[in-house]
């Protein structure tokens, strides 16, 4: 079975962009080479369920080159049809097409799961959760899964707390090499520049409101400010809000901040963060985007049910007239803007994230049978290995802990007051 894609003839374009990305993925390539040499993934069935663009394609191809039996799926809004075609051309079953309906998206996930994967590589945990609800029969033999997003790890921890998570899952998202870079720097750059590309308006001096100051939100705030925007942050966490103040940003309640937002970017990953009431307080023509990604993070369904109407649409921009008569611009229907309306996070950032995903696969397979169902951290040594590979690529050097430092770290005696010990 070669999967379900839109147009197989698009493969040369996809292959060209996949090759470009490969040239900037040294860490992922190196870890994949180690997997190939160890034979760890040879014959292992791996389901990759992720944003389908050139970097993800490289992850799938590298796993296949290392001997894994790989299949891929992706929801339509995050699918690059040319890349999907290139994967099929390379012999990887792929279930993804840009114009897929919600029903077809679901069928594609089920088709992926029908490959009876030993490991699921997930983005958002939808495939892991659907495996639990729709294909529970595949779970007992699985080595586990890896999940690379904050919004995906959250429901998995809920499942674990309720005793409903039946496989071990590595929270790849929580690895330092992933979250400190992908979430903050990669998403920050790609979200701000995707919004800038869609609006094509000057950012210098523009009022930008960033909802949430977690790693993604702080990255968005930083990149917006880098272009000269006046950034205001809104938060529910007083510690995060204080961090925003110390980073030089204004902090206001969302209901106040929206009144002066030319651009509003929500990064909470939580549904109904931006409500109809917030939309109606925005200035005329303000733009609203999502830079994290939860279904209905902007309460669009409620807005439409309450009388909001789309008055125009051009590309990824929808003009929405609200019940109070004001019109705002919704970017890409409130989907995660940097993956659905752009080419996703920068290549070198995804090199880190996919290096972590490969390290997580290695860990799951190495510990198959030993890891209990639940959410597990990637071992620090594996995390460090990916970072060290990338550091070399970025031209950085590293020190080693000395014997004296190690002794100090391992001692509890207060040497400053007892220098003889």
């Amino acid at each position: 079975m070669s999967g379900r894609i839109a147009d197989g003839s698009l493969w040369p374009e996809g292959a060209e962009r996949i090759a470009w990305a490969r040239g900037f993925m040294p860490a992922t390539t190196a870890i994949a080479a180690e997997l190939a040499a160890s034979g760890r993934v040879r014959g292992v069935r791996i389901a990759v369920s992720d944003v389908l663009e050139p970097k993800t394609a490289n992850l799938a191809l590298l796993l296949a080159e290392a001997g894994a039996d790989v299949a891929v799926s992706c929801v339509g809004r995050d699918t690059d049809d040319a890349v999907a075609a290139a994967l099929v051309h390379a012999g990887i079953p792929t279930y993804a097409r840009r114009d897929a309906s919600a029903t077809e998206d679901r069928e594609n996930v089920l088709a992926l799961l029908d490959h009876r994967p030993d490991v699921i590589v997930d983005d958002g945990a939808a495939t892991i959760r659907i495996a639990h609800t729709e294909r529970p029969g595949i779970l007992p033999s699985m080595a586990g899964a890896t999940e690379q997003t904050t919004s995906g790890v959250r429901p998995l921890r809920t499942m674990a707390r309720l005793g409903e998570l039946r496989i071990p899952v590595v929270a790849a998202n929580d690895a330092r090499t992933k979250s400190l870079f992908d979430n903050a720097h990669g998403t920050g750059q790609s979200v701000v520049l995707a919004v800038a590309d869609l609006l094509d308006e000057p950012w210098a001096g523009t009022d930008v409101v960033v909802v949430g100051f977690g790693r993604v939100g702080s990255g968005i705030a930083r990149h917006a400010a880098a272009l000269g925007a006046r950034v205001t942050v809104t938060e529910v966490d007083p510690v995060a809000a204080l961090q925003a103040v110390f980073a030089g940003f204004s902090v206001e309640p969302l209901a106040d901040a929206v009144t002066h937002a030319r651009v509003l970017i929500s990064s909470t990953g939580i549904a109904h963060t931006v409500t109809l009431e917030h939309l109606e307080r925005l200035p005329e023509g303000a733009a609203v985007a999502i830079g994290g990604g939860a279904f209905q993070e902007i309460s669009l369904q409620h807005a439409l049910a309450s009388g909001a109407t789309e008055t125009a649409r051009e590309g990824f921009i929808s003009w929405l007239r609200l019940p109070n008569g004001r019109t705002v611009r919704i970017l890409d229907d409130g989907n995660c803007i940097n993956v659905s309306a752009a080419e996703g996070n920068p290549v070198q950032i995804m090199d880190l994230s996919f290096g972590v995903q490969l390290a997580a696969i290695d860990h799951l397979l190495g510990e198959h049978g030993a890891l209990t169902p639940g959410v597990h951290m990637l071992p620090a040594a594996a995390d460090d290995r990916v970072a060290a590979l990338a550091l070399t690529a970025f031209g950085g050097g590293l020190d080693a802990v000395t014997r004296e430092q190690r002794e100090h770290l391992g001692s509890w005696r207060p040497r400053d007051v007892d220098p003889e010990t």
Binding site: E16, R17, W20, A21, F24, P54, H185, G186, G188, Q189, S190, L193, A196, D197, L199, D200, E201, P202, W203, A204, R222, H223, A225, A226, L227, G228, A342, E343, G344, P346, V347, Q348, I349, F394, G395
Partner: protein, 229 residues
């Protein structure tokens, strides 16, 4: 009345409309004053151009800016604006210039510097941004890295040939340079202009109209007041 600038010619539709409405014909002339020599226009233009270039560099390559080593070549306001924006975004900036004053200012900002008067060998960085201000055109054959020409008139980089690595990115024969197509400051056809292009058009038209009754310096100050408002 004719107002001449050493700046790309306005889209014909705009130039004709300005002439018809206000009786001012705005034309491009290499021997005229460059509007970037006026500080108010230079600041506004540099921010808009910086955004155009940073967006094009990121969007056309999908490569990372934070952590990347970026060589910004030139000694004008545009170079400092691009360097500032990328520095705030987390790039490791190297300022390359032949001006000791620019190099001193950059060094005192904590930036690595490269003196172009003593340039020998190749220029190497993850990204190289030529501004065309205060430096001869960079030859891609002597560059290692991703190269983009931020100049307003295409004077920052020597034209080169090579096959396409991906849309808008050309390899350079016999070199490690990857040359990214830079967008024009505004398109020749008004129909192709986006809001940021029109912002630059607006700046030039407003400055030109102000010079009808004011000196260049007074017009530039008034332009700054209008932009602030």
């Amino acid at each position: 009345m004719t107002v001449r600038w050493a700046f790309p010619a306005l889209p014909a539709l705009v130039a004709d409309a300005v002439a018809a409405e206000w009786g001012v014909r705005i034309t491009a002339a290499d021997d005229a004053t460059a509007p970037q020599s006026l500080p108010g226009f230079a600041a506004s233009f540099a921010h808009a151009r910086s955004e155009q270039i940073i967006r094009a560099l990121a969007q056309r390559t999908n490569l990372v800016l934070p952590g990347a080593r970026v060589l910004v070549v030139g000694d004008g306001v545009l170079a400092e604006t691009v360097a500032g924006a990328l520095s705030r975004a987390g790039s490791r900036i190297v300022r390359a210039s032949a001006s000791p004053i620019v190099l001193l200012r950059s060094r005192l900002l904590g930036r690595e510097t490269r003196d172009l008067r003593y340039r020998d060998g190749r220029l190497s960085a993850d990204h190289v941004i030529a501004t065309g201000e205060g430096h001869p055109p960079l030859d891609p054959a002597s560059i290692d890295g991703v190269l983009i020409d931020a100049s307003s008139d295409g004077s920052g980089v020597v034209p080169s040939t090579g096959d396409m690595a991906r849309p808008h990115v050309r390899r350079t024969e016999g070199s490690g340079a990857l040359v990214v197509d830079a967008p024009p400051v505004f398109p020749a056809d008004l129909a192709d202009a986006g809001p940021i292009d029109l912002h630059i058009v607006d700046l030039l038209v407003a400055l030109s109209l102000l010079t009808r009754s004011l000196t260049d310096a007074e017009a530039d100050a008034e332009l700054a007041r209008l932009v602030l408002a």
